[in-house]
């Protein structure tokens, strides 16, 4: 990693040059919610002016740049009683600006799933390799809990990361590509003061979290609580609308569909991001549904995020961005569901038995 500083005006010029002739996306205010709250999304940008660098958080994550909501896996053409399959992995170069540490951590986790498993995805790899990521730090929102997940900082998975230290950005340069671009602009060695400002900034961020979730030992806890009535309590609120999974930066479950062209001369095999909360997620051939109750479906979403991955891969797949909580109309969010489970067990007065004495 190379560390440099750049003035915000010079940074603007750098971004301008970068996005002008490239396919670039950055945070933009798309609406004003009730109560005057700005709503941001990653939108196509052609100049630095179009980017809201001081945004809070985007409503939807940056996941769909790597895992599109609907994606052609292959095309088939039929001719003379025979067929041919065409598979394309090419992805055009893409620049993503303003990703938060949690967003980048989420992509790093997707790397684990999509690239480091037994069946690496060439579709994902093409997009991942051809995407230039510029991260930016931010002060947490009241409901962000990425610090509980230890995802409030990130040290890989980006090309360039910018920490806001007042009039300048403190740059962590993590790729030769980023460095060779930046060399053309006025960047400086960080001074003693710049380093102090960076440490201060990190401290401020670290101490600004208002929401914490206790995730230590959560996998075991979830195992014990498999039959807890808490699941159906939250399930009764769940609309099974899949909004949580769509905005989530790490939910990657999908379904595969075959679609014929109307002229029957070709077809495509598509994957379609799905959600374990949707009614027919666990429906199998013959019509049997393994999870007909929304409480069960909700439970398995939590199991996937907080148990399965922690048990198998030593990390929970949630980054603590709380996008699911914000998108949920029924106000179902990880903090409340997990605290509810913990409280139920930890405040249980029926089966109080003392721990064995130390010998």
């Amino acid at each position: 990693m190379i560390y440099k500083v750049i003035s915000k005006t010079e940074f603007s010029k750098f971004i301008d040059a970068l996005v002008k002739h490239n396919n670039a996306y950055g945070p933009q205010k798309v609406d004003t919610g009730t109560g005057g709250k700005p709503i941001y999304q990653f939108m196509p940008v052609k100049s630095a002016d179009e980017i809201d660098f001081d945004y809070s958080v985007t409503h939807s994550s940056a996941k769909h740049f790597f895992l599109p909501f609907r994606d052609d896996l292959s095309r088939f053409t039929f001719e003379d009683g025979n067929w041919e399959q065409e598979v394309r992995y090419e992805a055009p170069p893409l620049i993503l600006i303003g990703l938060r540490p949690c967003d980048i951590s989420a992509i790093n986790m997707l790397d684990e799933v999509m690239l480091h498993g037994p069946y690496p995805s060439p579709y994902y790899l093409a997009r991942r390799k051809n995407t230039f990521i510029i991260g930016m730090d931010h002060l947490p929102l009241p409901d962000c809990f990425c610090k509980s997940m230890n995802r409030h900082t990130v040290n890989h998975g980006f090309n360039l990361f910018c920490s806001d230290i007042g009039d300048k950005y403190y740059l962590s340069i993590n790729s030769s590509k980023a460095y060779s671009f930046l060399k053309e602009f006025m960047i400086e060695e960080p001074s003693y003061e710049d380093n102090c400002l960076l440490i201060e900034r990190r401290k401020t961020i670290k101490h600004s979290f208002e929401t914490n979730i206790e995730v230590t030992g959560l996998p075991v806890f979830l195992d014990i609580e498999f039959d807890s009535p808490i699941w159906q309590k939250w399930g009764d609120k769940c609309l099974s609308c899949g909004s949580c999974a769509m905005v989530c930066p790490t939910c990657y479950c999908y379904s595969v569909e075959e679609r014929f062209d109307v002229d029957l001369k070709g077809s495509s095999r598509q994957n379609h991001l799905y959600s374990c909360n949707l009614l027919d997620f666990a429906q199998v051939a013959g019509g049997h549904n393994f999870r007909p109750r929304n409480g069960d479906r909700l439970k398995y979403r939590y199991y996937h995020h907080y148990r399965g991955f922690a048990a198998n891969d030593n990390q929970q797949i949630c980054v603590g961005c709380n996008r699911c909580g914000r998108a949920c109309l029924a106000d179902i969010n990880p903090k409340d569901v997990i605290n509810d489970l913990r409280l139920e067990r930890e405040s249980c007065m029926i089966c109080v038995s003392p721990s064995p004495d130390r010998t």
Partner: protein, 254 residues
């Protein structure tokens, strides 16, 4: 036609309109880029929007509109007797649609408002399944041509195809739309069957539920959400009643 060694038969189809705007049938003549290919799958026996020929030997009947006159009942029964598969086509046929709004007032009053003193025979509006059995529903006001194409292709190639079971929110989130509840609106997206590509919320217009309820939708939670957000329950009721797709739920609640 031959497709990968399978013999493909054109679908002998008849399309019939009852009380409606014929907008759904018109959709079938839209989407010009694939229109010739689409018509290539069909043996049109009776379809006044597309052909002036009239034959009565169709296998599949698309029935559009709701039933509001006694002669329509007889005509519908005759279509049912001929068709191997009867498809309720569009929101009016599936649920009664906008026409059902007139059921809320006395029928002679409704006639007077629209036709003045002219005598018109009418009766309360009914959906197709109130009168004959329906094999498949393709809801939508209007229907989505892309969805109809998928269904017809599925029939022709004998491959499975289903309407989505999940609600509109899935498609809406995939379009990166701002949730209309966040803008202070009551939107029926969370309880309405998807498949429309969330076209209304994408245009910042709340969903009015033209495709009817999504499978196993959570109505009690939906009402609770509208209440907790201090949005108008009257507005919610009005929207739920608009296309009559949620009649079963409204009856239980009131």
């Amino acid at each position: 036609m031959n497709h990968l060694g399978f013999k493909i038969d054109k679908v002998k189809i008849g399309s019939f309109d009852f009380t409606c705007c014929e907008g759904c049938q018109l959709q079938l003549a839209n989407k010009e880029s694939t229109l010739p290919a689409f018509l290539g799958l069909l043996d049109i026996r009776n379809f006044r929007e597309i052909s002036s020929e009239r034959h009565d030997d169709y296998d599949i009947a698309l029935v559009e509109g709701s039933i509001t006159r006694s002669d329509e009942v007889e005509r519908l029964k005759a279509i049912r007797a001929q068709a191997k598969v009867l498809i309720a086509f569009g929101t009016c046929a599936c649920f009664g649609g906008v026409n059902n709004l007139k059921n809320k007032i006395p029928q002679d009053e409704a006639v007077k408002v629209v036709y003045g003193d002219k005598k018109v025979e009418t009766m309360p509006s009914m959906k197709i399944s109130d009168i004959v059995s329906v094999d498949l529903m393709i809801p939508g006001c209007p229907v989505s041509k892309a969805e109809v194409e998928r269904i017809v292709v599925g029939v022709v190639t004998r491959s499975p195809n289903n309407l989505p079971k999940y609600p509109v929110c899935v498609d809406c989130k995939q379009k990166l739309n701002t949730c209309l509840f966040d803008l202070g609106e009551v939107c029926l997206g969370p309880v309405t069957k998807a498949g429309c590509d969330a076209v209304c919320p994408t245009g910042k217009t709340p969903c009015l539920g033209c495709r009817g309820p999504s499978d196993d939708m959570n109505f009690p939670s939906f009402i609770q959400i509208v209440k907790e957000k201090n949005l108008s329950l009257d507005e919610m009721q009005e929207k739920l009643a608009f296309y009559n797709g949620f009649a079963d739920y409204l009856d239980h609640e009131s």
